[in-house]
């Protein structure tokens, strides 16, 4: 899993497009800002959503943060590990800590999101 090849939002989500599926997660920077994550609220499979809409929330010990989907479409899969092990969002945000898979209704959307370099510039951090 190479964060260099993902697309990013200013709300600190990432998306990786595989065919007509977008896999969505939160960034290393986001999990670091939130701290120890204890609870993840995600939409059910079958939910339709639109780019920029709130689809759930991530809670750490200290705060709750809304999740916005970077792409439009229908949720087809939800990471089953997160209900029991939300801490993998801290340890592996770009890998096993993915959140949902969305069947893209507009495959062109992802290409308009921030590139890795643009996201790094936006957050002002070296690491992704």
């Amino acid at each position: 899993m190479d964060p260099e090849n993902l697309r990013y939002t200013k709300e600190h989500e990432w998306v990786r497009v595989e065919g007509d599926i977008g896999i969505i997660g939160i960034t290393f920077h986001a999990q670091k800002e939130l701290g120890d994550i204890v609870y993840v609220d995600l939409p059910k499979a079958g939910t339709s959503t639109q780019q920029g809409k709130t689809v759930g929330s991530v809670e750490s010990v200290k705060a709750v943060s809304d999740l916005y989907t970077p792409v439009s479409g229908e949720v087809v899969e939800v990471n089953p590990l997160l209900a029991e092990s939300p801490e993998i969002l801290n340890t592996d945000p770009y890998g096993s800590g993915w959140l949902v898979k969305i069947k893209l209704s507009d495959p062109g959307e992802a290409g308009k999101l921030l590139t890795a370099a643009e996201y790094q510039a936006y957050t002002g951090t070296e690491s992704l």
Binding site: G35, D36, V38, Y39, D41, S57, E59, S60, V61, K62, V64
Partner: protein
């Protein structure tokens, strides 16, 4: 780092959870230099202290501290504070950072006595060493025998050669010490305490762990459990009000409220359903909004989601089924007696 009352402070150094557990199991070190200090001196220092605070400072011996309240005339909190009696004519108040200037103005405005009042925050830095190994850690750096010092007592001594007011107080629900030192010594003492505590597994701790620790101990946080519209009766802080000590600011309002009876009261809760009740969330009983959460979040020690809320008095008893509105969804919770966590002595 976050801005906290004008101070740049770390919410966490590494992991909030690790910091929290370090304090419960070993020892943690907090930089709480943001806390304010007000010094009251003179032949009538006690008269002024007792007039502006709710607890009875006349009961203090030199070297003893007490938790107390500063109230407005209408009975609401200006602040919650620690009163230290240094000598007969010298009292040392530790106050909340963001309230420091307001507190100072309040005390000065009611100084109808022969007392001098100094806003002394700039002269003090404060470090808190908290946890079951706090004593072992600090003992390595001070000539004073700490074990005989009783809870809520203090002594003026030295830490690593620097003058320090060492108090057996804290805001975590654990044994521990708070030391008041010169800002010029603070960085060196921080480093020396970290080294001294290394063998006990000391961790630097941020504001995040300070908040989860005090919530488990059900200690009030200003602007959450208490503020200008909350009285000590409502906040379960009647024990810091001594109505028979003589007149004090807020006494008439408290007397009146005691006769009329309070309508709301602070009570603990734990979430039963999935979700976390956070500060400001509405609390419902039977579908009707009846109260609000003052502080809430995960309890790392208990592995439960806990909180404190205001409810109508009839419902503010342990064992009531309530619902916390978590972003539009009513999530079941159960009221509990507090503190949620109590250390074994």
């Amino acid at each position: 780092m976050i801005d906290f009352g004008g101070w740049d402070m770390p919410v966490q150094y590494a992991s909030l959870l690790e910091e929290h557990h370090a304090v419960r199991q070993r020892v943690g070190l907090f930089d709480v230099s943001h806390m304010g200090e007000i010094e009251i001196r003179g032949p009538q220092a006690l008269d002024l202290v007792n007039y502006v605070t709710t607890n009875d400072a006349a009961k203090l011996q030199s070297g003893q501290a007490q938790y107390s309240g500063l109230l407005y005339e209408h009975g609401g909190f200006v602040d919650d504070i620690l009163v230290h009696k240094v000598t007969e004519d010298y009292y040392f108040l530790c106050v909340n950072a963001s309230n420091q200037d307001k507190d100072y103005a309040h005390v000065v405005a009611h100084n109808q006595f022969e007392a001098t009042v100094e806003n002394a925050g700039a002269r003090y830095a404060q470090l808190a060493i908290q946890g079951p190994r706090a004593l072992d850690t600090l003992q390595k750096l001070t000539p004073i025998a700490l074990a005989p010092m009783r809870y809520y007592h203090f002594v003026d001594s030295k830490v690593s050669g620097a003058p320090a007011r060492i108090a057996r107080t804290g805001y975590t629900g654990e044994d521990g010490f708070e030391i008041y030192i010169s800002p010029g010594d603070a960085v060196r003492l921080w480093d020396e305490i970290v080294v001294a505590g290394a063998e006990f597994g000391i961790k630097p701790c941020g504001l995040g762990a300070r908040n989860t620790l005090r919530l488990e101990a059900a200690m009030a946080l200003y602007d959450h459990e208490i503020h200008a519209s909350i009285t000590p009766w409502e906040a379960n802080l009647g024990w810091i009000v001594k109505m028979n000590k003589g007149n004090f600011i807020g006494r008439h309002a408290l007397d009146r409220q005691k006769q009329c009876g309070i309508t709301r009261s602070l009570v603990g809760f734990e979430m039963a359903g999935r979700g976390i009740g956070r500060d400001g969330y509405e609390v419902c009983i039977g579908g009707r909004g009846t109260g609000w959460v003052t502080s809430g979040g995960p309890s790392p020690t208990l592995s439960k989601n806990i909180g404190l809320c205001y409810l109508p008095c009839a419902d503010a008893a342990p064992g009531r089924k309530i619902q916390v509105m978590v972003r539009g969804v009513a999530v079941d919770a159960l009221t509990l007696s507090t503190p949620f966590y109590k250390r074994t002595k």
